[in-house]
Symmetry: C2
């Protein structure tokens, strides 16, 4: 019951008067969200899927010189290797809404980001499937299930769990932040530390954004949801494919600006933080493409407002300066970019992974609300009239 109350409060705070009208009118869509949330929390209502599957997208082909010998057991001469593709797993509910959600993991991560949470609750993949969206969760080229690479690399195990504990804003190791929305079960932390996988080849912006643009060209218009490092890659992907109809980005750290409009440096004692958040400039005509789609950028809690002695937290202080510069640039050029800090709408304690935090259903409610507000959650086949629409909204 408390969750339901907090949920309503959060929606109110985000939407203000517009929300009051929706609630007052007994909107089917909002009632459906309430129902889905409760069912998701209980996890007892079966999920219904019309179709599920997976496929590779984009990629290249490497060919070795020589002549293929069909009798040899294995030979590389004249053989090919198909690599550098991305990989996507999809689930489509019956009567899916018009625009699928494409979910892209961050640095060192893979599709797990959107799957069940470290403590086994439903993640965005299943939550939004329940809410009637086709959901595509991807592994970018040279990561996870898309590991086949045409360029080799050396993998060196690197111990960084405790550093990431701060960067991901669970706390300052070994102490959790008070009230942080992360489970205290040690097995949850074990699972969390294991949802990482190394690159199998060099990572470049063009490699991954070309592939994901190819995905959008294949599946058609859809909404792109990025996280952390893939925020950086989402901007050029939207420039490369007109099928990216909106971007919701959770905690990106890198932003693009039109050439000649890069904002000045943000002072910080940590050179790595400065490097990660340095403005990227693009031709104005490319930047302009970002002004044609709704963009929402979301951050959690425990971000310092003054310079921090902890590098992992300082990253977020500087990022919040940068993201506002980015949103201002998009809006100055006629676009629609908003920055949402979850504490400002009553959600406290969120980490770098708000979509899998303990209150992720409430975080998902905010995404549902944004998609609704921007007309991105339409049902299919409006031409079929009211009966169809009611069904979508149920």
């Amino acid at each position: 019951m408390r969750g339901a109350w907090k949920h309503k409060r959060a929606l109110w705070l985000v939407a203000g008067a517009a929300q009051a009208v929706l609630v007052g009118s007994g909107s089917r869509a909002l009632r459906a969200q309430e129902r889905d949330k409760h069912e998701g929390e209980r996890g007892q209502h079966p999920i219904t899927i019309a179709k599920q599957g997976s496929f590779a997208f984009g990629g290249t082909v490497l060919t070795s010189p020589g002549t293929f010998d069909p009798t040899a057991f294995v030979s590389t001469d004249g053989n090919t290797l198909h690599g550098d593709h991305g990989y996507v797993q999809f689930q489509i509910p019956p009567d899916a809404r018009e625009l699928p959600l494409v979910m892209w993991h961050g640095g060192g991560q893979f599709s797990k980001t959107w799957e069940s949470t470290p403590d086994g609750r439903e993640g965005y993949q299943t939550i939004f499937l329940r809410r009637g969206f086709a959901v595509y969760i991807l592994d970018q080229p040279r990561r996870g299930r898309a590991g086949q690479t045409t360029v080799g690399t050396t993998i060196t195990p690197t111990t960084v769990d405790q550093s990431l504990f701060a960067i991901f804003r669970l706390g300052i190791w070994p102490n959790f932040f008070p009230g942080v929305q992360f489970p205290r079960d040690p097995e949850a932390l074990n699972q969390y530390f294991r949802q990482v996988t190394p690159n199998t080849g060099p990572e470049t912006t063009d490699l991954v954004s070309d592939a994901v643009a190819a995905l959008f060209n294949k599946i058609g218009p859809a909404v792109l949801i990025t996280h952390s490092q893939s925020g950086k890659y989402g901007w050029p992907t939207a420039m490369k494919s007109p099928n990216v109809k909106a971007i919701i980005s959770y905690e990106p750290t890198s932003f693009v600006f039109p050439e000649g409009e890069a904002p000045p440096p943000v002072a910080t004692a940590f050179p790595q933080v400065a490097a990660i958040t340095v403005p990227v400039t693009v031709p104005p005509a490319e930047f302009d493409k970002l002004t044609k789609i709704p963009i929402q950028i979301v951050y959690g809690d425990n971000i310092p407002t003054a310079a921090s002695p902890y590098g992992g937290l300082e990253l977020w202080r500087v990022t919040l300066v940068r993201v506002q510069q980015f949103a201002d640039a998009v809006n100055r050029h006629g676009g629609d970019a908003t920055v949402l800090q979850l504490p400002s709408v009553g959600l406290h304690g969120n980490t770098h992974f708000a979509f899998s935090d303990l209150n992720n259903v409430q975080v998902a409610d905010l995404l549902s609300h944004y998609l609704h507000e921007k007309g991105l959650d339409r049902g299919k086949g409006k031409e079929k009239g009211k009966e169809k629409k009611d069904k979508d909204d149920r």
Copy 2:
């Protein structure tokens, strides 16, 4: 209609008189299989899932010397890395049957093996979910979504597509075998060549079988389904976990024997083939564990019966000699191992990936039949009486 006929014929050929009794009695289980098969082929009947998710299993922790500095942006000193785990994705239908199916990919492959097929049809993951089984599809340690490794490696792209075309028995490149059960759409072959991903660290039998035994210890009694290289790993996994209640292995090439009972070499002109199929010996007490569970080993078509000039085909000729030696050894010691060559029951043209071939629903029917015959497809809660059982069988 033709598919249904072939299905019935295959079941008849496998089961003989016992099958006649089952069909004669109008068994609900077999009628349900027929229904599922047709619905799966149409792909129009929604799938219902009670719960889905993913988690890491097994694994180790690597710790760097030194003292963790919480202020550093990133430092390895005194930090840990969690690696060497496997990764599993599961889907559980409402009223699931008692024993889940755990599906393990082969060499160079990952969970894709069991997901949708190269031409986008349903694979074993979804087919057996529709048939009421909880399905677990895994990535073994240092592969795919389980790429985080405590031991580094160098990844070198290796062009072997055309060699694998023969080893996987699609044909002799660029010609498909006549009647081979692989789609001729070039995009299907493109997808097939991309369902490969490299190891991110050294691969050893203990590494992967320890992890998968840990998975069985976590989820409880279940049926293990292996493919190709994981056949070799399935035997020790069953020795390590009493929760492995049966093994169905598609096209394994390596087999275990009790010490002192290794069969003699099989003559072949290909040293690589001899090495892959060389008998592995284990203490008799360990081997004995394989005699306590039903084992079925399945092979497709286009396997030569005399020495072949093609190394990729010779592998299968020698393997068929070895597998019979293995089954004989298991049965000689009181076990229950059977070898099923699909052409012998009327299924022709199957490749190394029978479970994703064009006729994979019929191949799945044979697995359903085997599970039923061995009492491995029981519904849960038999204590609830007939009503419950009827529901499971519907």
